[in-house]
Symmetry: C2
DNA sequence: TTGAAAGCGCTAACAC
DNA sequence: GTGTTAGCGCTTTCAA
């Protein structure tokens, strides 16, 4: 009933040779009308599912995929990506795929550009990039595209039609998630949106989160709350933050738009009053404060899965001709002290 | 540098034939000491990764996997499983795998037993079961085991060494997650644990959730809270629940241990005071109340992924010789009104 | 105990 | 245009 048909079967039924069937299937032309019809009649009647596996046995071309992301030694957030990429490599080890990882310094635009030049030299078939530097990335991606190199971005969205696909979260929506969480945590008072732009610039992305956060509170339209944005830079962070606290005695909750919630918790955990705290990312230091309830919720951006999916999409495109989704939005995981362990 | 070695390569280097290498690799015996040594020396020196794909080209045996779960028409919770199973089938369509789904009536123990008998008749290589009926499942699984049929359970844990693997959530821990959520939602007063055991018996599993929930509150040890358990049966649910509310004016939060939180929300949403509500599962009716904020949080048990993984583990075991993890615990996803869409 | 050879499903080169 | 054939990496005969 559910017989699996092979090219050989089709050839026999249609009364032609395997080669002809193959030519029809792949639209390689050089097939007479009569042969084409004979084959198509058979194909219409049966459910032919090519064995994608056997297809690739033959293939000798090695696909070259390059991944470029910030050096995890400089920003530990990216560490999981390496595992994700390695998982993908392992999973497709039987195919002719070469994946190479490049790291750039996220505090240094030139490092980003230089690494892309390095990548170009290897004439890759595709690149997967975390495009932290917006302007530069747009140019670089345009260049890849001109050279026929497929580019896919992850973690940070980039508007450009030179990009084939994006894997990551909807940051606006994740701001709304944080909004809902803080609404529950705080009944009234001031809620601060804290941008802790440590060393480097990813302003566009934290702004997206802020917009979502504010959109949520506009929508609930509750006069109990005041929302205020505050941008803090690294060197003076502690002092500036203390000043902020003193200047705002009604401060009741904080939304940290970067992964640095632990820096805030370090301070708020020592205050007399409880300040609700929602942040991002399962860094060790964040998790410690989550377990001690000084951070109430973390939003998990799942960099590991982002990188994994980015690579897998490319591999499956090359070896299985599978379409790459233009936009793959990952779930916005809410983490508290009790479910954290399941995500790491 | 990273050359991929094939059996042919190894044979040439070792100065033996492909057949001999194969015999060594698969420990089929019938290899002389000298040949064995020659091959092993080569294997020690290189990193041989067999092409698992090519391996299965030859294989003509069709592996027969049967899945048994409650009929989604009777309990809609299970609906997602079908998609998950179909995803797995699709993913491995090129291999010789036959997956058949069987449904039992979750309100009827006999239906469970009968379906297992049906399955037995097809002499499967493995079964994946949602063992809702504990006692009966233990017997059935023992029987499968005796017949050399691999059994894997999902969604509901069963203690039995006749079972090869379990895929699902840690229900105790998910109770703790709910505990933490209600602690945040409710500052003081009575928190009710509601078991709505509709038509059928899954008492063991909801008890596990209750234990975790209580464990959490014992651990925070806050005298502001009283925890009380309440079991309600379907026919009189509404009346009994109203009585419960009236008898407990300090009721501030409810933890529903089944997927029937919507039945509670239907009532609490019409009360004057806000009662915090945490439940399970992304049923349509639950989601509606989540969006209207009458349910505060849902815990997602991800039946789709459970079934998917259960099947995939088996398939990969058969075709890739991959080990099946004894216990695969899925993350305990916390869902609120804002991140729900990403999970469905 | 061993090597040679056929064949899994598909592709691509090559005659005709 | 079309059929034949070799070969991808591996397994499994089968003859030696």
């Amino acid at each position: 009933m559910n017989k699996k048909y092979t090219i050989k079967d089709i050839a026999e039924i249609a009364g032609v040779s395997k080669g002809t069937v193959d030519r029809v299937l792949h639209k390689r032309g050089k097939v007479s009308k009569t042969a084409l019809e004979k084959v198509n009649t058979v194909l219409d009647r049966i459910d032919y599912r090519p064995n994608l596996i056997a297809r690739n046995l033959k293939n000798t071309k090695i696909f070259n995929i390059c991944v470029l992301l910030p050096n995890p030694k400089i920003d530990i957030y990216w560490e999981g990506c390496i595992d994700g990429i390695n998982d993908a490599i392992e999973e497709f080890i039987s195919f002719n795929i070469a994946v190479t990882i490049y790291f750039f310094n996220p505090t240094n635009t030139n490092s980003f550009i230089e690494n892309n030049e390095e990548i170009l030299k290897t004439s890759p078939d595709a690149v997967l990039i975390a495009p932290l530097f917006y302007k530069e990335a747009v140019e670089i991606v345009k260049n890849y595209n001109a050279l026929g190199i497929i580019s896919v971005t992850f973690n940070n969205y980039l508007k450009s039609n030179a990009i084939k696909s994006f894997v990551g979260q909807d940051l606006f929506q994740s701001g709304k998630v944080a909004g809902r969480l803080l609404e529950i945590l705080v009944k009234k008072g001031l809620i601060a949106i804290l941008h802790i732009d440590e060393d480097y610039e990813n302003a566009i992305y934290v702004q997206e989160k802020e917009k979502g956060f504010r959109a949520y509170f506009n929508q609930v339209n509750n006069t109990n709350y005041t929302i205020k944005t505050c941008s803090l830079q690294h060197p003076n962070f502690k002092r500036s933050f203390y000043e902020f606290i003193e200047a705002h005695p009604n401060l009741a909750g904080i939304f940290v738009t970067t992964s640095k919630a632990f820096q805030v918790a370090e301070i708020t955990s020592k205050l007399d009053k409880k300040i609700a705290l929602v942040g991002y990312d399962l860094l060790k230091s964040n998790l410690n404060y989550l377990k001690s309830f000084d951070i109430d919720f973390l939003i998990h951006q799942n960099p590991k899965r982002q990188a994994y999916l980015g690579v897998v999409h490319l591999i499956e495109y090359f070896i299985f001709d599978k379409e790459i989704p233009t936009k793959k939005l990952l779930p916005i995981d809410i983490i508290n002290s009790e479910n954290a362990n399941n995500y790491i």
